[in-house]
Subunit: 261 residues, 2 copies
């Protein structure tokens, strides 16, 4: 492949049928692009996604065209990247993966990591997703940049180490926030209340962060060093040990951090 | 006061000049109501809020009218409620506080707890705030209900115990989520990245919770029991002990919870 290759001249192959793979055809559609082949291991998964994407569904990489330039998007689990990439290697094939944590120089030609949480049930605003790109070859850099620009997404090129850090931070704000809500939900359930009552608060907490940094936005008993409320809360959590542990650790952190305020 | 009293016939007094007090005049304006008096301890604070609200600013409760029925909103710190309420007691005075954690039967006539985080800098969507009400007298119940209906807010009457639980849950989802973002922000800062890159993800995490409960929405390495990623992350956090503690506890909780999935 030469540097002047255009993404529109490549045959796009999507490997994987999981949550992220499910969204690639729609993201590509924003760029006016179509997935030609969906490659996967489960017959049902491949058929379903291929039907949705208007693609050929295949389960054997040998059925891919040999004479065309392919752009292969690996949307598979970290553990499967190496094996699937190995089965797809070829001179006329540019391959990228989408994982935040997998390092793959020598295995793929680049990385396109959309920093977002994907579920089948919901379509996030694709043009609000920050794409973090890594290119191990100059032609991959050009193609990735063209692709994200066509999707109308925000992007930045970063190295493997920075992507790992971003992935860790994403786990913290996504999975751990969701876990906080789950703990609060279980706690409220005993009083006949629902976590839904907390959503306007949580939404406002997030909106505030668009206007002020988390240090300035912080409020609450731990920041005020209101030890009476904190110890009352810990008492109230006697029968909720998981939440009690989290409350204790978070409050200790916050008191430590805001000691001199 | 009799049961048929109308909020529009009462003279509204706002005690306090803090973050929540700052928003009461605007919330009342939605109901077509005006704060007649702002009462506070700091001259500057009283003057500023009274000017904003188009109210008389006073620092001595003795300057309040004796011959009118007053509706006093105590928007003061938990620690100050008892003292301020004591200085305002009177037969023609109905008094409520707005705290999630203070219990006040015998001290005030009711509670109007807006479950939201308030800052001077931002105006949350008032009509999206759930108001949790407690009435220690039937006439307070009628007035509180009328007030929130006029604001066009959602409301529910709850007892002191349920309000305490809600307050605890609010601390968890608001303060602790904000703290997670702060920890992630500090961690990213070292790599020249900003927490702002994480906001589309955090927003999507919250939007998902409107459509599916936190149990179904959960993703990530801990739920997948991806011990390799978890131990790599803990390694990466060696120089960030506060975040490492949080990561370790949260991941342990999540692995425990999703053990049988």
């Amino acid at each position: 492949m030469d540097h002047t290759k255009d993404i529109r001249d490549l045959t796009i192959v999507l490997a994987g049928t999981g949550r992220l793979a499910w969204h690639w055809p729609d993201m590509l559609a924003l760029a006016g692009l179509r997935v030609a082949y969906v490659l996967g291991r489960s017959t049902d998964g491949v058929q379903e996604l291929a039907a949705k994407a208007g693609s050929f569904g295949i389960m054997d990489p040998a059925h891919l065209p040999q004479a065309e330039d392919l752009f292969v998007i690996l949307a598979v689990s970290d553990a499967a990247i190496q094996e699937v990439a190995g089965s797809l290697k070829g001179e006329r094939r540019m391959m990228i993966h989408c994982s935040g944590s997998a390092v793959s120089e020598g295995i793929t030609d680049g990385v396109c990591y959309p920093l977002q949480t994907f579920s089948r049930e919901r379509q996030p605003a694709y043009n609000n997703i920050p794409f973090f790109l890594t290119a191990y070859r100059p032609d991959t850099e050009a193609i990735l940049k063209q692709l994200v620009l066509m999707i109308n997404g925000k992007f930045r090129f970063i190295d493997d180490d920075t992507r790992s850090r971003l992935h860790l931070a994403a786990v913290v704000v996504n999975n751990f926030t969701n876990h906080l809500v789950q703990l609060a939900s279980e706690y409220l359930h005993g009083a006949g209340m629902s976590y839904q009552d907390l959503l306007p608060l949580l939404e406002e907490t997030v909106y505030k962060l668009e206007e002020m940094d988390p240090g300035s936005a912080q409020t609450g008993p731990a920041v005020r060093r209101d030890l009476e409320v904190i110890s009352k809360h810990l008492q109230m959590l006697q029968n909720h040990p998981a939440l009690q542990d989290v409350y204790e650790l978070m409050s200790r952190n916050l008191q430590e951090k805001y000691r001199h305020h």
